[in-house]
């Protein structure tokens, strides 16, 4: 019996979400009186996961897992779970984890719940709270199978440093063939992705045109943030579709979401609701976003954003 957690890495380096899922797995393991085993694939410094609560790391080094493949990764994690006799498997909510989770659920005959936001309120029956209706509500849901898979919503638990150490064991699962082969990847490596970002700066139709996004990108750069946009902005081709957030776009669960020139339509808010702190900049004091935000500035983005960039630069220089 143990809690198994899949820790994602990129170019050998653990993602921040990996530290969060280990922290969460540790809290679940404490409730169940057991320990945490992490699975790491082609990652360096696996022992560092001990700091977040893993007692053991199954470290897989395999060229067959060099690029992400849902079927192959699911098979590797399945074998790790069986090896450990795990009854709970914890994953993040990254695109990759959400891709492999249903395959893993079938392989392990495990009940799976995604978008989980808290530690279990009960371990028998195993009950967790998850978002539903695209963040307009929460559902308290039970998993009835022996093995349970929990997909943790990003930034919902946080990173907790426990300060322990982990034993690293080499693990060599057998990797099946997959009928899906990557031909090419087109990815901006120098930018923070919306999924990984702690801060997201988002622009709406109030910005008038794509030529005005320079200040949005500059603000994002100062904050180390990802950039996003409302649906009409991507429909109009001002920004790429991959930046569209909301109910029918990407979900945002960042610590800080700054909405500039976005009215706050219900479909937009649904997708960004789980962000912790929301700031809105809008000329119209009646814009619905003000009802959903924590902080607001009634003002013209073309004045407020440059001022904010300047003040943040000064703040950073002072706190450097």
């Amino acid at each position: 019996m143990s809690v198994l957690v899949y820790t994602e890495s990129e170019n050998g380096k653990f993602k921040k979400a990996a530290h969060e899922v280990v922290s969460y797995a540790k809290a679940v393991a404490d409730q169940m009186g057991t320990s945490v085993t992490a699975v790491a694939i082609n990652a360096d410094n696996s022992e560092s996961l001990g700091n977040y609560g893993a007692s053991k790391v199954l470290s897989i080094s395999d060229d067959a897992l060099g690029t992400f493949n849902a079927k192959k990764y699911a098979a590797a994690i399945e074998q790790a779970a069986k090896n450990e006799g795990a009854n709970v498997v914890v994953l993040s909510s990254s695109a990759d984890s959400r891709y492999l989770a249903p395959l893993l659920a079938v392989n392990l005959e495990a009940g799976y719940l995604s978008n989980v936001v808290e530690v279990p309120s009960n371990t028998a029956p195993f009950t967790v709270k998850r978002t539903a209706f695209t963040n307009k509500a929460f559902a308290n849901s039970e998993i009835h199978t022996d093995v349970k898979i929990v997909g943790l919503s990003n930034n919902s638990f946080g990173v907790v440093e426990a300060g322990g150490s982990a034993n690293v064991e080499a693990f060599s699962p057998s990797i099946p063939d997959s009928g899906v082969q990557v031909e090419s990847v087109d990815k901006a490596t120098d930018k923070v992705s919306i999924a990984d970002a702690e801060i997201v700066v988002s622009g709406g139709r109030g910005l008038k045109g794509p030529e005005n996004w320079g200040m949005i990108e500059e603000l994002a750069e100062v904050l180390g943030a990802a950039t996003a946009c409302s649906k009409p902005v991507s429909d109009l081709g001002w920004r790429s579709h991959s930046e569209h957030v909301g109910q029918t776009g990407k979900p945002v669960a960042s610590n800080l979401y700054i909405a500039i020139g976005i009215s706050g339509a219900i479909q937009h808010l649904a997708g960004i609701n789980s962000s912790k702190v929301k700031v809105v900049v809008n000329t119209d004091p009646e814009a619905p976003f003000f009802k959903a935000a924590d902080y607001g500035v009634v003002g013209d983005a073309f004045e407020v954003v440059p001022a904010l960039i300047e003040k943040l630069k000064a703040f950073k220089a002072q706190n450097a």
Binding site: A70, A132, H144, T248, G296, V297, F315
Partner: protein, 248 residues
């Protein structure tokens, strides 16, 4: 090519979400139901395969009789036939099991589902279905071409996209991008008339039980009032974000 498009019947995106029966049931009162937006993109792409490559398109829903208007709408958009598996959709696993049975009975080559449904938005059904029927699987799919039995798909990934080569039988989780928003079809009068004559077959479920259960619902805690900062005093915003919200 035989295509099955999985249609989830969901509350319209503008719906206010409420619960009844001691917060154990979704309150459908006054709620308008629609084809799940992600499935609408998939259905439109299926119409393209029908018109350009002679594919036969069947739509399917696992649900009670109340979902039939949604299936009729899909027929009016141009699907050839509809199937309703007559059982309440209880969890992703149970739905995927029912769909697996439909796929096995009908021998479909391409199964187009949505990335996630906007109600319980699990993002579970397509992957589970692919696992159960041992088909290839691509989710977050924003582009799909089929040539004979080979397929090329584009998938959105965190921070970009990737192109993959795969083959039929294939399950995809589609989303916006699979077709352009402006290409989505609204049923016209002729389509609606024709849909009345198209077959909508009701099949009985195979015996499976759910693995998970939503026992109660709650709504997010009401929000405190927004703190307004004067546009001439942006220093104060930086101060609040640093000292009060502690996010920078």
């Amino acid at each position: 090519m035989k295509i099955l498009v999985c249609i989830s019947h969901v509350p319209d995106t503008t719906s206010k979400i409420n619960f009844t029966d001691g917060d154990t049931k979704f309150d459908t009162n006054g709620v308008q139901f629609v084809i799940n937006p992600n499935d609408e993109f998939g259905l439109t792409r299926a119409m393209w395969f029908k018109e350009k490559q002679g594919a036969a398109v069947t739509v399917v829903n696992v649900g009670g009789p109340e979902t039939e208007p949604t299936l009729r709408k899909a027929l009016a958009i141009g699907a050839d036939a509809a199937i309703r598996v007559n059982t309440e959709a209880t969890d992703g696993f149970a739905v995927a099991k029912q769909l697996a049975q439909v796929v096995n009975d009908g021998g479909y080559d391409l199964i187009i589902a949505g990335r996630e449904s906007i109600d319980y938005n699990g993002g579970m059904v397509p992957g589970m279905l692919a696992g159960m029927i041992d088909a290839n699987f691509v989710t977050n799919c924003i582009g799909l071409e089929i040539d004979g039995t080979s397929a090329k798909a584009v998938r959105e990934i965190d921070g970009g996209k990737e192109t993959v080569n795969t083959s039929l039988p294939l399950v995809i989780g589609g989303q916006k991008g699979l077709v352009e928003e402006s290409d989505l079809r609204i049923p016209n009068m002729r389509g609606i008339m024709m849909a009345r004559k198209k077959p909508l077959t009701v099949v009985e479920p195979t015996g499976v039980s759910a693995e998970t259960k939503a026992v109660s619902f709650e709504k997010p805690a009401p929000k405190g009032a927004v703190k307004l900062v004067d546009a001439d005093n942006i220093d104060e915003l930086v101060n609040l974000l640093h000292n009060e919200a502690k996010v920078i």
